[in-house]
Structure formats: C-alpha cells, structure tokens
Amino acid sequence: MSAELEREWAEAAATGDEDAYAKLVEAYQLPVFNLAYRMLGNANEAEDAAQETFIRAYNRLHTYDPERKFSSWILSIASHYCVDRLRRRRGPVLSMEEIMGQRWIPDEHPKPEDQALQHEEHAFVRQTLEELPAPYRLVIVLRYWNDLGYEEIAEITNETVSAVKSRLHRAREMMSQHLRSIESGTSTKKHERRVTGNALSRCF
C-alpha cells in the first residue's frame, strides 16, 4: 500500500472519519492479528488483542507521526499490548478448558503428501514460540512474519539494535536446542531430513 494513501487515511481518521479508519483496519488486520496470535498462542485471545490494538490506535491517532510508517506504529502498539497481556497472565499459560475450546488456524489446504510435514512444521513453530520468553518471541515474530530488519524491530520494541540482534540469536539457539531434543525421536527423522535438505538448497 502506498505511504501517501496510508497518510491520507490516517489523517482523515484522526478527524473522526470512521470509513477511512476502517480501510486502515482492513489493510493491517493480517499482520496485527498474526502478531497477536503468535504472541498469545490462541485465536480467541488473539482476536480480542488485535481488536484492542486497533481501538487503542484509533484513540491515539492524534499522536501518530505521518513521517513514520503506519505499519511500524500499529505493530508497536500491538507488541506492547501483547507483551503486557502476557505479563498479566498468572499461573499456567492455558487452562484445560481453554486448550479444549481453542480455535486453531487451519492451514490452507495442503496437498495430502505435504500434510504430515506441514503439521509437524506447524507444531514446531507453535512449540518453539511457546518455549520462548515474550521478548524473544516478539523479535522472532517481527523478523519472520513481518520480515523486518534490526532497526525497525528495535524501533517497534523500544530496544537497541544490539539487543534485538542478541535476542534473535538466543531465540535461534533455543530453537536448535528444541530440534536437537526431538532429533532423538524416530518419528521426526524423515521430516527433518527433508527440511534440512530445503535449508541447504536455499543457503548454498
């Protein structure tokens, strides 16, 4: 989306134009909802958090600097809200009812032969994200889904670039640790060989 159009919408929305704001919501619902979902780990909570993010942003539109990318601004609001929400959680992350009643985000009709692999990759992402402490989880989400560089991530999370770099590193160490621990299990052997193959073909 053009920055020009984005600025126009944001300015119109700040003067109370609800239709203009609805367009901004449409444009950014995917990254915001995804961030909330990856951070919080369940769709119901993610939906609520994503809604709350857009409501907060609406109430703070007068503080939005049009020189800044709207995406960075809205992702920053979403990030802080989700981290706060995780901090407020007490006890176990999810109760049994919550786990049973959870809505999972379905994959987009994978080919049958890919289903098992996709399922495992899906599980890997879920499990590793869950293992990561919130600040590490956040930089991983911003890096992989939102495809952002160190500087933008630093701006969004209010961290220094070196902190972002080291968090990404630590997070990846934890992920490889996770892979190492499932390496001993036989059921994942085939999947791993295949993914490793992909990785090698991409990197070399």
Partner: protein, 188 residues
Amino acid sequence: MRCQDASELLSQQMDCPLDESEQHELDTHLAECESCQHEAALMRQADTIYAHAKFAQPPPDFANKVMERIRQRKLRRSLLRGGLMICGISLLIVLGLGLLTLAFSPLLRSSAQYPSLAYIINVLNGLVSIFHTFDYAIRLTFTATAKSGFPFIMIGYLFLAIFLIVVWARVLLVPKSGLSQVSENRQE
C-alpha cells in the same frame, strides 16, 4: 574464533549478508568444527521452517467488529461525559442554593456596614428570586426530559437556564429593593 562467536554470526547471516571477513572467519571455523556444523544445520532448519510459516488469518468480519467496538466506546464516552456534566451542573445549583439560603440569614443585616459584602449578598438575593421564578419551569423541563430519556435535551435546557440566570442577574444588579441603600452608599 570461539564457537559462541560462530553461533552469533550464523544467526546474523540469516538476517543479512555478513561482510567478507566475517563470512570468511565463519566458513573457516565451520570447516574445522564439527559441533558448529551440526548447530548450523539445526539453526538453518529452524530458520527455513519459520521462513515458510504462514500468516494466521483473522476472522472475515474482523474489521467490522473493530469499528463496532469503536462506535460503542465513543457512545459510552459521550454518555459518560453528559452524565458528568449533569452532575457538575446539579452540584453547582445545589451549592448555589445553599449560598442563597445563607444570604437570608442575619448575616445580611450585620454585613450592611461592609458595602462590597452586602453587594454580593444583594446579588445572591436577586438570584434567589430568579430561582423562585424559574423553579416551576425547571421542574417542568426536568420531568419532561427525564421521561423522554434523552440527556442531551436536558443539558441544553440546563445551559439555557444558566444563560437566563446570568441575564437576569445582570438586570438585577441595578438595585431596587430594600437593600438599595447599601448600594447607593457604595456608589458615593
């Protein structure tokens, strides 16, 4: 190069290309360190899985729900503001009435020798009579608007009432009652 440094470079490499010397150092270390080779394979495996992960899709009516919630909150806020305004104005009226009753007390007589104080009391006294005049009208509008359940009209009436009170007070500042003596003293 230590294994820890190699691991950091590996991670960096996934985000942006390393400069030549760093790349060379990393390659050299990887060529001779088996444990880092293994670590590199695992990290790249995780990287690839993450790089292919899809976006979680929000429900189809997401934007509508957001706008609906925004509208609800706006409405709630304006109702709250209206309620606060009514409370504030009522408080002012009650306070005003309290002061007005005071104005009828013996204070009135004893204050006659202090012209400015007497002047204020004179004004307050005038306000009391205005209130008597408007008492019936105010009560009428209150009951009517409360029944219609629309606070904005009520606020409008209150503003009108206050405006009229101000106008009346201006008119009454010209003394004409038994207290006019005091005012005349003041003018001399």
